[in-house]
Each structure stands twice: as C-alpha cells, then as structure tokens.
C-alpha cells in the first residue's frame, strides 16, 4: 500500500480490530467493523496495484480512483453496522486529450467497482452516439433503453459523448437519448454506472449546454497529457507487447523523436506513439525485405533499428 489513503485505511482498520463483524449476533448490527479485513476480502488492492503498474503516469486519475475505492469500502463498512446513507453516485466523466488512456481506465473502473461490490456484474458496455440515437421519430427511446438494459449491473461507457448533443439541429434525436439517460442515471443508480468520455474542450461545451447531465456526474476526472519520459516508457511497453525490441540506436532516435512529434499538429499522446511504432514496423519489414537472399535470425525479426524511426517525416 503505497498511497496515503490506503495507509489511512489500514490504521483505522487496526484501531477497531478485535471484535470483527463475523462474531457479532446477526439479530442486531455489530458495533465495529474491521476495515483492513474488508479491504483484503475485496481484493481491490490487487486491481489498484495492477493499475499502478500497468498504466504509466495519470497521477491525478489514480489518486481519484483510490479515493473512490476508499469511499466504497467505508460505505460497505457502514452498511455492516446498519448505517444507511444511500449509495453514493458514481457516474463519471473522463476528459482529456486524445490518447491519454480514457477507454483503458474505463475498463479497469468496471473491474474495480465490481470488486468493491458497487456494480453486480462488472462488465463494460462501450457505446457511441450511433448505438443510442435512432434514425427516425420513435426509434431513439427503445434503442437507448435497450443499451441501458444491457449495461445494467455494469458500466456504460459513452465515448465521445458530446456528439449526443447537436445544437445546430434542434430536432436532433440526441436530446431524447440524453433525457432517457438522465432519468436512469438518477433513478437506477444502484443498477449501473455511466461514464461519459471525450476531449476536454468539447466536453466542456457539452456540459454547459446540458447542465442536468453535468450535475448528475459526481466525478469529473481530467486526464493529463503525458510527459516525454512517460511516452518513452509507454513506447517500450508497446514494443514489448508486440514482441519487438528497440536497439540502442532506436532508443536514442525515439528520445529525439518524441519532443519533435509533440510540437507537431494532431499530436495524440500514446496513440501517436503507437502509430509511430506501427510505421517503424512497416519500415523494418521493408528493410528486411531488401536483405533478400539470406535467412533472417529471430533477433533481426524482433529488432527495430534507429534508421526505422529516423526515416519518419518528423525528422525532416
């Protein structure tokens, strides 16, 4: 447990340890509850540690997820003692520039909420405007409701949610989808968690024109852009994930490439890095083809050289 919130949980847990919930008489609620036992029981720390290990950077996001985990554990402890505060609202909005990991975190979020017992099934239903909004009058409501029913017991992830609202067309059916969404978000909080995601500036305009939606979302998480060092680390992981490796010259080339690419237009954080690596693979394949007439070693097939990256137009 590296985090302050998690440490606080352990301290509070050991302070009340001694009479656990299990040896209390079921007829009356117990007087105390062991938070650390609850924490161990939920296995949520494993998911959180995985999140720390597998996702690079995103400090504020991770901190907020830990806060939410702590809140839900305390809520569960309160429930064991018979304190009813109504379940907290956990609808979220993920804003951030392209390629900052919004979808990846949403997937993890479903897992975490499931471990903490907030959602019953823990699956993620990822949708966009097309899945919610119909094509003719009377088509939208059943379509949206069907998606909502499928998402119940899990997390509904609406990617690029700002497309739902099209101010230029007042007869757009998106508004109808938003209204149904709002109703379910309010009345069936126990049944599903809604996460809306999109680019920061467009989401801000979206929320401004739909204040009802904004006020029903308790957690606004902003995904920061990655630093160059973080992007290098991400690149290394992507390469390993694709069963390639970077030669020393390629690492040096990447080190120069990232700051240059960041200054160019349409920079999309981790996604740009993935694209750069994909193109490097393409050039590597070409380079290997040029060597025809001899067999290739496993090492050659795996290695991306500096020249594969340096051929990028970013360097020109």
């Amino acid at each position: 447990m590296s985090n302050a919130a998690a440490n606080a949980l352990t301290v509070a847990g050991s302070a009340v340890a001694g009479s656990t919930a299990t040896d209390a008489v079921p007829a009356s609620p117990p007087d105390s509850v062991d938070l650390s036992a609850l924490l161990a029981d939920s296995h949520v720390n494993e998911v959180l540690d995985e999140l720390d290990a597998e996702l690079i950077g995103l400090k504020p996001v991770k901190a907020r997820i830990r806060d939410i985990a702590a809140l839900l554990l305390v809520e569960r402890a309160r429930k064991q003692l018979g304190l009813i505060g109504g379940s907290p609202s956990l609808h979220m909005s993920f804003t951030g520039n392209p390629g900052t990991g919004k979808t990846t975190v949403a997937l993890r979020m479903a897992q975490i909420l499931h471990r903490l017992g907030y959602v019953r099934k823990g699956h993620l239903v990822a949708v966009t405007r097309d899945d919610l909004v119909g094509q003719y009058i009377g088509h939208t409501a059943p379509k949206t409701k069907e998606i909502l029913k499928k998402a119940m017991g899990g997390v509904l992830f609406i990617d690029e949610a700002y497309y739902l609202y099209r101010p230029e067309n007042e007869r757009d059916y998106g508004q109808e989808a938003i209204e149904i969404l709002l109703q379910v978000m309010e009345n069936q909080r126990d049944d599903l968690v809604v996460i809306v995601a999109g680019y920061k500036d467009r989401m801000d305009t979206f929320f401004r024109s739909n204040p009802g939606l904004s006020s029903r979302i308790a957690h606004h998480l902003d995904f920061p852009d990655y630093q160059p060092e973080e992007l290098e680390e991400i690149a290394q992981r992507m390469v390993t994930g694709m069963q390639y490796r970077l030669s020393a010259s390629a690492v040096a080339a990447l080190h120069e490439y990232i700051p240059l690419r960041m200054q160019q237009p349409h920079f999309a954080n981790a996604r740009s890095i993935r694209n750069a690596l994909d193109r490097a693979r393409l050039r590597q394949a070409n380079r290997l083809f040029a060597l025809k007439g001899r067999s290739l070693s496993r090492d050659e097939l795996m290695t991306i050289e500096g020249e594969d990256l340096r051929a990028s137009r970013v360097f020109s």
């Binding site: 099934k121 499928k150 119940m152």
Partner: protein, 139 residues
C-alpha cells in the same frame, strides 16, 4: 378461479425478489427474457401480446425487472408472464415461463355442452371474462 398456467403456478404468487432470482437464473443459463401480457386466460391461448422485444444479451436482472414493472404499470389488471427463451440449437424454444401478474378478480370458466350427431356431447370451456370485448375485461 385462480389460473394455473406455466411454471410455479400452483405456488403462491412470486414476490419481486423471487422473480428477480428466477430472471437471474435464466440469464446465467444464457436464456433471453421476454415479457408478455394478455387478458384472454384460455389455456389454449398461446399467443400473448409481446411487451417490447425479447431481451437478448442482458447481464443483470435489473433490465428485465424494469420491463416487468413497466408492463405492470401499463396493464395492472392483465395476466403478465415472463418467458425465458433458449436459443441453443436443438432447443430453440421457451425453457421457462411463469405468471408474474394477474387480475385481482378472476371469474373462472364456464363449461358448455354442445349436443351433436346423435346424443354425443362436445365440451367447450369459455372464460366468463372473455364475454366482454378485449381491453374491457377485468375492470
């Protein structure tokens, strides 16, 4: 006279918790849930009205329960049943069907004797409720 059709019909009416548990079980088996209603209680009436489309790909009973309560709200004095459809090849049929809502007053059936050829008798049962037109029964 209490209608007994489908599973659990000789038991007391299912509570919402029990219905939810049954739906949960059906979903675990991979069956699709459909909600249907009618005001014609004849046992040979197989074709009940569908309340929306059958719900495929549900993960949790909450979605189906929303439809059950919506149907009850719209038709409080109708028979409403929940069907669980198994799409597995070889079955492709309803595996479970039970009534989740019934009118407060069920008048029962009349037995009609029809004398035909010679002294032979044909028996027909007819619900007292169906004497009134559709929609105005069970008021």
């Amino acid at each position: 006279m209490r209608i007994t059709q489908g599973t659990f019909s000789f038991l007391p009416d299912l509570t919402d918790t029990e219905i939810r548990a049954q739906i949960e079980y059906s979903l675990e088996q991979g069956w699709a849930i459909g909600v249907e209603y009618t005001d014609d209680p004849h046992p040979r009436n197989f074709y009940w009205e569908m309340w929306g489309n059958p719900m495929f790909d549900l993960r949790d009973a909450a979605g189906a329960m929303t439809e059950v309560s919506a149907c009850r709200k719209a038709h409080p004095q109708h028979y409403i049943r929940v069907n669980a459809f198994d799409s597995t090849r070889g079955f492709e049929t309803t595996r479970l069907s039970y009534i989740v809502n019934r009118p407060t007053n069920e008048p029962g059936f009349q037995l009609k004797r029809n004398e035909v050829g010679g002294r032979a008798i044909q028996y027909t049962i007819e619900s007292y409720a169906t004497e009134k037109p559709e929609g105005s029964r069970y008021k």
